[in-house]
Amino acid sequence: MKPVTEAELHTYIDGALSEGARAEVEAWLTSHPEDAERLRAYAEQNALLRSLYNPVLDEPVPTALLAVRPHAWRRYAGAAAIFALGIGLGWAVRGMFIAPQILPVSLARLAATAHVVYSPEVRHPVEVPAGEEEHLVSWLSKRLGTNLKAPKLAPLGYELVGGRLLSGPQGPVAHFMYQDGRGQRLTLYVSRQRGEPRDTAFRFSQEDRVSVFYWVDGNFGYALSGEIRREQLLNVAEVVYKQLNP
């Protein structure tokens, strides 16, 4: 009889063996009572541990846990967070190499500056209004050399006002402006990035009164700016991200 490995014995307990392998283990166990006794004890451990902790599943979930919202991540700032983020990223994008990278802060800074300059404009907030969205998108796409999209943020209460072409350190920049019913404006700044294509996590930057979430996706950097609370802006940024990466 072929000896059964320790790993096979455990896999047997945990119910993950194929039928053929299971039969082999069972044959082994009939002639190896010590292993059989050991496995009986392990299986009992499984059962005891489950009966010990399964009742937690039936407890009502504390409201504090249901109320958790994104905002407390600053507590994990620092090396430990970057380490964890690296593992998280590694898990999320298995197969792609992504190291936590330090983005040039200038992306957030440039976007916030553009936001501050253009969003107070009453008469000329944009070069091309939303009524000509198709033209706006194809024009900016051509200038940036990629297929841009103007995210649809109407479900969040933000309608496209329009957009304009800006000049940035890496050349042309696409700038989209949105506005809600109360005149609150958000801007999305899209620019080509220097160097190799890469992806980064969302980063947050507070530039005076302007909150900015920014990230790099491939060759392009994106920054969403607004004078709204970070949580609200994050919600919008997630939608923007999802629409740009369907």
Partner: protein
């Protein structure tokens, strides 16, 4: 994108955290920290991949970092069980208490593996991913944890329980 997906996993995260750290409130704090991190990183989760395993990865990282940073009250690996008062009552309740006590005597590394396999019923591959360790390490930790638990529990089953006054 739907964050309610994460909410559905809260009971299981609580179960694992409770088993991992023992104390109810410390466990819920760990869940809370895990959820905060998960909300903030949710855009990194790829739809279609196993959300539960991803959440366990986050919890593991939060737990390890807390342990490192705050010197959390985590029992380190002990060679011997501490003398713990065991009431001489009979029945399953006692056995469950013993299992819990023996579980706490495992190293954190072994406890994580045995709980993810036995209670959370992750596959060995999922455990390997969640803890970011090779599958061979998963197997060796599992094997050592189970054998240690067997010896500690088995000894008690045969000989009368020692009453510590």
């Amino acid at each position: 994108m739907d964050r309610r997906l994460i909410v559905e996993h809260i009971p299981r995260l609580r179960r694992y955290a409770r088993a991992l750290v023992g104390d109810r409130y410390v466990a819920d704090d760990l869940v809370q920290d895990t959820l905060e991190r998960a909300w903030n990183k949710f855009y990194l989760w790829r739809p279609g991949s196993d959300l539960r395993a991803w959440l366990f990865t986050i919890m593991h990282n939060v737990f390890v970092n807390q342990a490192r940073r705050r010197r959390y009250e985590i029992e380190q690996a002990m060679d011997e069980l501490p003398a713990v008062a065991v009431r001489a009552t009979q029945g399953e309740q006692l056995e469950l208490q013993d299992v819990d006590r023996v579980l706490r005597s495992l190293s954190v590394e072994q406890r994580e593996v045995v709980l993810l396999v036995a209670v959370e019923q992750l596959t060995y591959e999922e455990v390997s991913c969640a803890l970011d360790i090779p599958i061979g390490t998963v197997m060796s930790r599992l094997s050592r944890a189970r054998e240690r638990m067997r010896q500690l529990l088995g000894g008690q089953a045969v000989t009368p329980l020692k009453v510590v006054k």
